[in-house]
């Protein structure tokens, strides 16, 4: 087991390097030079001399490889550069916005876990009943639903019509309900499908026949079944956390929540490249780490994989 973990951890090092290179190259894709943007944002007249000075200040006059090495060195010291716009360290800005995004994503994860699991199990138990069919229609529609439209409809219904939940801003638990529901609806279909399909798949397994032969009641048998399908469900749930983080971009902007997604979109409008770059790097690293954890967890929990 420990050997497996070490092997997996070593394997992600080249992946992390590759991801960092992509993030680094992305900045150099943009048509206008960062030096020019910095000058523009701070309302300094753009002259060739000013550009040269800013380039020196930002270390952009060195060759690319050298810039990259310097950038990585800074990264390892948790120095992500400074925002062009606010002149604050990017690290601080991200840390400030992070709790909101975590709050939102984990509320959504909670909703997905509870409702995804319940609907999935009910669908499988009452396979092909009206409930199952209705749930499948709902799942199909939710997967095709533009989340920003759903958000607008929810705001209209619950904020304007009935005035139950606030339409924007972060103020207590009430303000997180609508965003979390919107985010959860977009992702729930996968999880209902995982639970439902895997429960139906193992229906005719030998151990279920054996459990029936032992005379166990329906509830006991269901417990046996769920034990078998819960692992992939939890792993999929864990692996969707980075995706949810990325998915908060639209939701946070509509509901005016001061999280990472809003920070990133604001940075795109302001052409604040260090913030965009750090945000992308952060989510990608999160993605890799959660993948790694999910693999290790599966390996530890499911002895069949170790053979």
């Amino acid at each position: 087991m420990i050997r497996y973990i070490i092997k997996r951890v070593l394997l992600i090092i080249p992946l992390l390097l590759g991801v960092s290179i992509v993030c680094f190259i992305l900045v150099n894709l943009n048509p206008s030079s960062p030096a020019e943007v910095t000058l523009r944002i701070n309302n300094i007249t753009v002259t060739p001399q000013a550009i040269e000075e800013t380039k020196k200040e930002l270390g952009l006059d060195k060759p690319l490889v050298q810039q990259y090495v310097q950038w990585i060195k800074n990264l390892l010291n948790a120095d992500l550069g400074t925002s062009y716009e606010t002149k604050q360290p990017v690290f601080d800005e991200l840390i400030q916005a992070l709790p909101v995004t975590i709050y939102l994503s984990f509320s959504a994860i909670l909703l997905i876990a509870i409702f995804g699991f319940l609907i999935g199990v009910l669908c499988a138990v009452y396979e092909n009943s009206y409930f199952d069919k209705l749930a499948r229609v709902f799942i199909f529609t939710s997967a095709a639903m533009p989340s920003f439209w759903l958000a607008l409809l929810l705001i209209w219904l619950f904020s304007l019509k009935f005035n139950i939940f606030p339409s924007s801003g972060l103020d207590g638990i009430k303000s997180i309900v609508l965003p979390a529901v919107t985010l959860a609806v977009a992702y729930i279909s996968t999880f209902v499908r995982i639970i439902r399909n895997s429960l139906i798949q193992i229906k005719s397994s030998l151990f279920i026949t054996y459990a029936k032969a032992r005379g166990l009641n329906k509830f006991e048998i269901l417990k046996h079944k769920i034990k078998n399908v819960i692992n992939p469900f939890i792993v999929a749930l864990a692996m969707s956390i980075p995706k949810l983080f990325a998915g908060t971009v639209i939701i946070e902007n509509i509901f005016g929540l001061p999280g990472l997604g809003r920070l990133c979109v604001h940075a795109i409008f302001a052409r604040d490249y260090p913030i965009i770059q750090s945000y992308i790097l952060f989510i990608a690293i999160l993605f890799i780490i959660f993948n790694l954890l999910a693999d290790i967890w599966l390996q530890a929990r499911d002895p069949r994989l170790r053979v």
């Binding site: 080249p14 992946l15 590759g18 991801v19 290179i21 992509v22 992305l26 900045v27 894709l29 943009n30 048509p31 199909f140 529609t141 997967a143 095709a144 639903m145 533009p146 989340s147 920003f148 439209w149 607008l152 409809l153 705001i155 209209w156 304007l160 996968t190 499908r193 995982i194 399909n197 895997s198 139906i200 798949q201 399908v229 992939p232 999929a236 980075p242 995706k243 990325a246 998915g247 971009v249 639209i250 902007n253 509509i254 990133c264 979109v265 940075a267 795109i268 409008f269 490249y273 965009i276 992308i280 989510i283 990608a284 993605f287 890799i288």
Partner: protein
């Protein structure tokens, strides 16, 4: 492609309805100037926020523009650009996937590169590229292509892998048929239906991302007719005229739904056991 492929789609009523709906939309989009009742860009402040009537089938927006015409012209932006992005992505994915399955040296490079690109969730990659290239429709299409090409390459590589190790391909290699001919004559027809399935399932997500980015103001810019932009305009008028949210939203929902239904039924036809598999890579 198998001969009974189309017959099976026609058999499935829901899939057939989706196919007809999409075809109708494409035709409507192509002939938009003939079909649309009014000029979608004509601002007429005397007739703003009208309800539906004979002259304006779906009413008018806050600038007095005909909503129905804007929806129809929106097909051209949202649907056509998504289809275009999808075709280009499939093209590059196909080339890279086939290269990876046929040339050992390239395989490692291409697959490792895919690993790296797949570490970025695709919505995020699109956002990143828009962030650095700037807003606008060309950049959105470039972003959609770059963010999806690795995934296509991976999938197409795994499709071909099933066939590359079969005896008839080995035989063709042994008797000295060049790789190009093997790919063209043997491999491509076999994986074509898989690719169609993949592409159909994917158009929906491209439409969702393009309209979402336009909604945020990062994609297509106003006054172009685009469903996401129309929703953004409707958002501002939510308290006065909530009805304006319905047409563009329903349009996106139905289009994406049709593509998903179509893609799903193609998948069922190709692989009837799919629904029993746990893995869900969408």
């Amino acid at each position: 492609m198998r001969k009974d492929f189309l017959i099976k789609i026609v058999d499935n009523k829901l899939a057939l309805a989706s196919l007809i709906f999409i075809t109708l939309l494409i035709i409507t989009g192509l002939f938009a100037p003939l079909v649309s009742p009014n000029d979608p860009y004509l601002i007429n402040l005397d007739e703003k926020l009208l309800s539906y009537s004979l002259k304006y089938p779906l009413g008018t927006d806050h600038l007095g523009r005909c909503v129905a015409s804007r929806l129809i012209y929106g097909i051209r932006t949202t649907l056509f650009y998504s289809l275009f992005a999808m075709i280009i992505t499939v093209f590059f994915g196909l080339i890279l996937g086939l290269l990876a399955s046929f040339f050992k040296l390239l395989r490692v490079v291409i697959l490792r590169f895919c690993d790296i690109m797949l570490s970025f969730p695709s919505e995020l990659m699109m956002l990143a590229i828009i962030g650095f290239l700037g807003t606008g429709i060309e950049n959105i299409i470039i972003a959609a292509i770059i963010s999806k090409v690795a995934w296509y390459t991976r999938m197409i590589y795994s499709f071909t892998l099933n066939h590359v190790n079969t005896n008839y391909i080995h035989f063709s290699k042994v008797i000295g048929i060049p790789s190009r001919t093997i790919i063209k004559k043997h491999l491509f027809p076999l994986i074509l239906s898989d690719i169609i399935m993949l592409a159909t399932l994917n158009v929906g997500s491209i439409i969702l991302s393009i309209s979402a980015l336009s909604f945020l103001g990062l994609g297509v810019q106003a006054p172009t007719c685009e469903w996401g932009i129309m929703l953004n305009e409707a958002k501002e008028l939510m308290s006065i005229n909530p009805y304006m949210m319905l047409p563009p939203g329903l349009m996106i929902l139905f289009v994406v739904l049709s593509f998903n239904i179509l893609g799903d039924s193609i998948r069922d036809i190709l692989d009837p056991t799919y629904n029993l598999k746990i893995k869900d890579n969408s």
